[in-house]
């Protein structure tokens, strides 16, 4: 582990909060606001094919026509007229780490990304503001036919048709206002294709860094795991804190083929001025398996509910997530699942912690359509209140349209027991450490699903939050 990663272990936020000052000489920044002109400018920057340019304009029109939902956290502090939709370094994306501009490289070095790549990843994509700055895949993984690249590059390859037929077909611009916005100004992100029967033994990772103040990040991740293939994809995100609102409205579209398996893990640690209005959706074919592992720690405001459509018979989904809402945060998170196929199974296991006035809301939907005979769904959500100035709300919904289904739901809200704290203190721990240990234990079902390095990072984030940094 690098020195900087060790610094995180010692409860030091500096790695996340490090600001690389962006200057006009090195960075191109689109003027704030969202107009047809800005959308066309993004399109021009991306050198879009014609269909994509038209698509962006259609999305902008939809965006202007749609309202924000009436059920979520307030987004009053988000003014699109003060958000730049596109910021990039003037250097092009690199395939070699040495060629990445020094300032950006420093930031990612501090976050430990190159180290992780060397030690435990099959490939890495690093996005800085609106563009990928680095993308690499190990030779042996590429030799298996696995494609891991940015979408813009892939659009100019034999995979162009595949992208066109999948891009925003699962998450459509009419889904909600933020998806329309995403469609209009998306930039960066990754395209992954795992061919039939290929099992990628170690994970691929994308790391998203939004460094610029008053900017938006709208990356698009498109992953296709073909029949019988297997992939673990990890997503990390962070940003330094500014006094102005930043916006993240990414889109993740996942296509899991017959008998395939995809695990999608996220450790989200956006800074606390971030509006994280992100959308993720997976569709799973026969006997396919979709696994979500999600840790939400950062952001000022979050709307995040990864959705799975269990289309194929006997397809499965498992969601394991934790949300830690601290001071000034309103994190509205959860999961959605739609059962369509026969014998489909879903398990949602969610944990939420609220502290220092934070608002943590667990929100979910389980829909069992009439075709989903023999479907089974199980939802469990636990919320932990660490004081009485915070909120923990649980708002789960179920819509069941067949008798031949089995749905179970349980939820609990409570506090750390005094007895447990007393016991640990009698063993020599301070009250703060005792509580941190109990919270780590509460989060254990999530951290045990992550690769070791990420579980360590998640536990460090919990320590950071518990210590009030």
């Amino acid at each position: 582990m690098s020195e900087d990663k060790k610094a995180v272990v010692d409860i030091d936020r500096s790695a996340y909060d490090y600001k690389d000052i962006e200057n006009e000489k090195d960075f191109y920044r689109l003027k704030e606001g969202l107009t047809e002109e800005t959308v066309l400018k993004v399109s021009e920057e991306k050198n879009d094919p014609e269909w994509m340019r038209e698509f962006r304009l259609k999305c902008l029109k939809l965006y202007n026509e749609m309202e924000m939902p009436d059920w979520g956290p307030s987004v009053e502090g988000l003014d699109m007229d003060k958000i730049s939709s596109y910021v990039r370094h003037k250097e092009d994306m690199k395939g070699s780490w040495e060629d990445v501009p020094e300032d950006i490289k420093n930031t990612f070095e501090r976050l430990g990304i190159p180290q992780a790549e060397r030690e435990s990843l099959a490939g890495v994509g690093a996005q800085y503001d609106s563009e990928l700055v680095y993308h690499n895949i190990k030779d042996e993984v590429a030799a298996q036919g696995v494609i891991y690249t940015d979408i813009e590059s892939a659009l100019r390859t034999e995979y162009a048709d595949m992208i066109k037929s999948h891009f925003m077909k699962l998450l459509t611009p009419t889904d909600h206002k933020m998806m329309a916005l995403h469609g209009a100004v998306w930039s960066g992100g990754s395209f992954v294709y795992v061919p039939k029967g290929v099992k990628v033994d170690i994970p691929l990772q994308s790391y998203f860094r939004l460094n610029a103040a008053g900017a938006g990040q709208f990356e698009h991740t498109l992953i296709i795991v073909d029949e019988g293939a297997d992939l673990h994809f990890i997503e990390g995100c962070s940003a330094p804190k500014y006094n102005v609102a930043n916006l993240h409205s990414g889109a993740v579209e996942l296509f899991v083929g017959k008998n395939a398996r995809l695990r999608y893990s996220t450790i989200e640690n956006w800074s606390k001025n971030m509006y994280n209005l992100n959308s993720k959706r997976a569709i799973v074919e026969e006997n396919g398996v979709m696994e979500w592992v999600s840790g939400s720690f950062g952001s000022h405001t979050s709307y995040l509910y990864p959705m799975t459509i269990l289309k194929g018979d006997h397809s499965k989904m498992e969601f394991t997530g934790i949300t830690f809402a601290g001071k000034g945060q309103n994190l509205d998170t959860g999961a959605k699942v739609v059962h369509q196929g026969v014998g489909t199974t879903s398990v949602i296991n969610s944990k939420s912690i609220s502290k220092d006035g934070g608002i943590g809301t667990y929100r979910s939907s389980v829909v069992i359509q009439s075709t989903a005979k023999k479907a089974k769904a199980s939802v469990s959500c636990d919320s932990l209140m660490l004081d009485s100035i915070s909120r923990a709300d649980t708002i789960p919904g179920m819509d069941i349209r067949t008798d031949d289904a089995d749905v179970g739901h349980e939820a609990k809200i409570g506090r750390i027991s005094d007895e447990a704290v007393f016991y640990l203190m009698s063993r020599g721990l301070s009250e703060e450490d005792a509580k941190a240990m109990i919270v780590s234990g509460f989060a254990n079902p999530v951290s045990k699903e992550l690769p070791l390095e990420y579980a360590v990072e998640m536990n460090n984030l919990i320590k950071l939050e518990m210590s009030g940094h």
Binding site: P69, G72, I395, P396, M398, D404, H409, I413, R415
Partner: protein, 389 residues
């Protein structure tokens, strides 16, 4: 009079995804005939309980207006859930499950209210019974206030019934106030005909150590809405509810129960058990709302739904809102058909599948029907269930 109804009711305390269609419900019915505007005579009124007949809805509501500050006390940290809808019903001195549109309907139509008052210290054993025997084509819109003064206890059964094939309209609003140490037991049984449109709106508040106990069986009618909002505004208050329902044919039932836990050491248990058959639809919203200051409170909400047809639609929203650290909130839901193991066991005892289902439906609903403290009405309800299944 003939009325066109257009009301938004049963609004979820904290809104969620619109695609689930659970955020509220609409009552939109044209040409509803309403002739009966007074509560029928109550039977079995014991000494120590006074009944004041035909008070205006507004006048009867003065009891709550006078205590509004006490009922809606908010001693804690301000804060609302995402998608909060509470401001909508701010004008209600005592909030009701179905909300302000019902109150407005009552006020606009000059509905009278019968006020039942249990005097201080009076504890009655026998239930007061109010029977609504509605004829085909009849419409009824009535209101009651039940006021249990300090250390009293009152039990009231309201039974709404008609011929099985009858049509009509039945709307009712019942407001409750349990003062210090008082207890209100309210039992409502509904076996209206298959053409009836029916709503039942309850709102109540408990002062220190006060308790409200609601038993409800919704078994008939074509379209039903029920709502109940109990405000546990002071310490050591309690709300226990046991609901049972049976929805069949193309009928629908829409429920909104809310326990607003404000006092310390409040206790809530909400049980709901039901059966959906044929092409029936049901939406259940149940909310435990632990307000700031409700320390040492407990809330438990359990839903058990048996689905007996591939064409039913079941929607459930078991919500917990919490702004207090020192509470225990739980909810659980079990939704599905009879377990294969259970069916196999019953089959192995020589009982076929249809009979096994019948037994289980009756067992589920009988467990609620047994809570009716009048043998004759309990038997009638149990017989009604047996004829349906």
């Amino acid at each position: 009079m003939n009325k066109n109804l257009d009301m938004r009711v049963n609004v979820l305390p904290a809104l969620t995804y619109n695609f689930l269609h659970v955020n509220d419900s609409k009552i939109k019915e044209d040409g509803i005939g309403i002739e009966l505007l007074n509560t029928p005579d109550a039977e079995n009124v014991p000494d120590g309980v006074t009944v004041t007949r035909r008070v205006s809805y507004k006048e009867a509501g003065k009891l709550f207006e006078d205590n509004k500050k006490r009922i809606l006390v908010d001693a804690g940290v301000p804060g609302v859930p995402n998608g909060d809808t509470s401001r909508r019903d701010d004008a209600q001195a005592v909030r009701t499950g179905m909300g302000i549109d019902i109150e407005n309907l009552m006020l606009e139509n000059g509905i009278t209210t019968d006020v039942f008052t249990a005097e201080e210290g009076v504890k009655t054993k026998e239930p007061i019974i109010i029977r609504y025997n509605l004829n085909d084509g009849e419409g009824s819109l009535t209101s009651q206030v039940i006021h249990a003064k300090k250390d009293s206890e009152i039990t009231i059964i309201m039974d709404y019934t008609s011929e099985r094939n009858a049509s009509g309209f039945h709307g009712i609003s019942t407001r409750l106030l349990a003062e210090e140490g008082a207890k209100i037991n309210l039992i409502k049984t509904q076996t209206l005909g298959d053409g009836f449109i029916h709503f039942d709106d309850i709102g109540g508040a408990c002062f220190k150590k006060g308790a409200i106990n609601v038993v409800s069986l919704e078994l008939g009618a074509k379209k039903s809405w029920t709502g109940c909002y109990i405000n546990l505004c002071e310490d050591e208050t309690e709300f226990i509810s046991n609901q049972g329902y049976l929805v069949k044919d193309t009928h629908s039932l829409d429920i909104n129960y809310v326990a607003d836990q404000r006092g310390k050491k409040t206790n809530v248990l909400m049980n709901v058990k039901g059966v959906l058959m044929d092409k029936a639809q049901k939406t259940y919203r149940g909310t435990l709302d632990f307000k700031s200051g409700s320390s040492a409170s407990v809330g438990d909400e359990q839903e058990d739904t048996l689905l007996l047809s591939p064409d039913v639609i079941n929607r459930s929203m078991p919500v917990i809102l919490c702004q207090e650290e020192d509470v225990e909130g739980r909810h659980g839901a079990t939704i599905g058909q009879l377990g294969e193991d259970l069916l196999f066991y019953i089959n192995s005892r020589g009982i076929d599948e249809q009979e096994a289902k019948r037994l289980m439906v009756r067992a589920k609903l009988d467990s609620v029907a047994r809570l009716i403290p009048d043998p004759e009405i309990a038997e009638k309800v149990q017989y009604y269930i047996s004829t349906i299944v």
